[in-house]
Symmetry: C2
Subunit: 366 residues, 2 copies
Amino acid sequence: MTPPRFAPIPAALPATVPFVGPEEIQRRQGRDFDARIGANENGFGPSPHALRAMQAELPRLWQYGDSSSHDLVQALSAHLAVPARHITVGEGVDGLLGNLVRLMIGPGDPVVTSDGAYPTFNYHVAGFGGVLHKVPYRNDAEDPAALVEQAHRTGARLVYLANPDNPMGSWHKARTVQAMLDDLPQGTLLVLDEAYVEFAPADAVPQIAPDDPRVIRMRTFSKAYGLAGARIGYAFGHPDLIVGFDRIRNHFGVNRVAQAGALAALQDRAHLAEVQAHVAAARDRLAAIAAANGMTALPSATNFVAIDTGRDGDFARALVAALEDRGIFVRMPGVAPLNRCIRISCAPAPELDILADRLPQVLSRL
Amino acid sequence: MTPPRFAPIPAALPATVPFVGPEEIQRRQGRDFDARIGANENGFGPSPHALRAMQAELPRLWQYGDSSSHDLVQALSAHLAVPARHITVGEGVDGLLGNLVRLMIGPGDPVVTSDGAYPTFNYHVAGFGGVLHKVPYRNDAEDPAALVEQAHRTGARLVYLANPDNPMGSWHKARTVQAMLDDLPQGTLLVLDEAYVEFAPADAVPQIAPDDPRVIRMRTFSKAYGLAGARIGYAFGHPDLIVGFDRIRNHFGVNRVAQAGALAALQDRAHLAEVQAHVAAARDRLAAIAAANGMTALPSATNFVAIDTGRDGDFARALVAALEDRGIFVRMPGVAPLNRCIRISCAPAPELDILADRLPQVLSRL
């Protein structure tokens, strides 16, 4: 029997996956985590209105979802003050990034990102044959000047910037992002991943004209809106770019219940404000826990905190593994020097209590 | 401002979409359909156990779904009597077909299908630069001999066969499909779309060794299990092929509630049997409605019936449009001679009553 003949691009891909999920680790360990604070999920949960809307939609789940997510797009249009034709809804930022890369990148096309930034973007770029050119972080933040310079040097078609950043939680001011647009080469598209934007200060959110063809912005219902498992997010940008998604996307790919939940979640501003307050308090608590254990929390504009262990990547890796052994799921950045940190998600008090309780013991044994 | 520079393959794609959804038509018409019987959705609905499982999972929707759909894969393994490493779960057959084509087809690679078969497969083949070679239906069924012959002539990497077939509802015996495998060129993969298999007679379901590298089979929870809006299905085949999906799929792309619903649905054999009985009765009812209106229902092994109008495509198109105007959503095959038919989904009695009531008036005015 001959092995399957994959097409050239997938044939050359490694079999690795961007992330090992917490369920996978639980199965290996033979028990569940007591604190699931590693994937930047939002344990404060979705809006009760969203839960009710989704429950009400379940009996209609025999129907395919609306292929254009019309009602959600209309609501997003009002929310963003951007015309509907500038917006596309997709299966989370992961799905939208995959479709964007597919739309823009052919074999050998250069793409610029930061070394240590979101691995799933890199997974998609490699998955469509693009060539990644990485620049280092600078002061634990993505480095706009270096990204722009690398874009000029390589003729990049896409430049990725997460603002706020994952995995470090750092952020840039709006004017810095706007200046990037002016400095990028003609024809380079800035992929502005704003998955954590609802946790960022207002002056980190750039005002960009809806017709600006130099940028596409991506946002999600997975983080602030607490719907990670629903797989729904959106992108907005120039209509000529947005309409391109219709050439390749799975038109009936967005779950019907997710559409109903996202619409209700978007409209519950009070719940969002509560989540934002809870997250801010949890960031402070995480900083206090870090300090009590001789470590330093980095400033964060997200729903997680990168905690500088003051040691190296080997130490941080051992710490993450030891926390896993003690029932606590956290993650860490993948490359030096970011990997001196561990990354812990904001969560309700009981899970942070577990962390506060067990972290000293875990550290004392390392 | 320059237009976006799409990669060569998407740049050459048309802006068309495989299907216009019923919500889209409703918005154009300014009112909802009274009978939604056009998309082969299952109006008998999902298992009550599945609904309860999904409702119970909603509060955990802040968590990403299990990236390997482990529990569902284990249950499918038992259900299919196939080891788990032969199975991958994805975002419905549409999502799985997209990933399969991406995995196997590069620019210019030949792919064989039937002229009038599932358009979304063709959409994916074009979407990855493949070249479609179509053969005609024969007696309103896909023609295995012609598909095999075309595969030899073109050196096709993929050959698509839906058994039972959409849009005609026809089917082949298991031995015919098995014989196809033996007759295909070395290295050609049969894509066996079994989305409607639960409605087919037992002797239409081939026994194929799990290690057979010549075929990949795809099934869904959208049809018999009534979960179209959940976006969840599965593929099974040789593990060397199945593991390839891990190189390109969105690892956290399957909705968490969908996983819970699919697992519960799979285990409710009694509900499936009820649906099968309802569908069989609805097929008979549709045949009677067709006959009462001077038309002929074709035999069907699916949850829909192709009804031969006895006229041509222009007539059928006018009939579909007139039914839409009267609040009834149906579809029709896209190419001659199949397009002398309209395609109506099995549905609960109230919707078929509406059809029975309005069809004579609609026909009398054409």
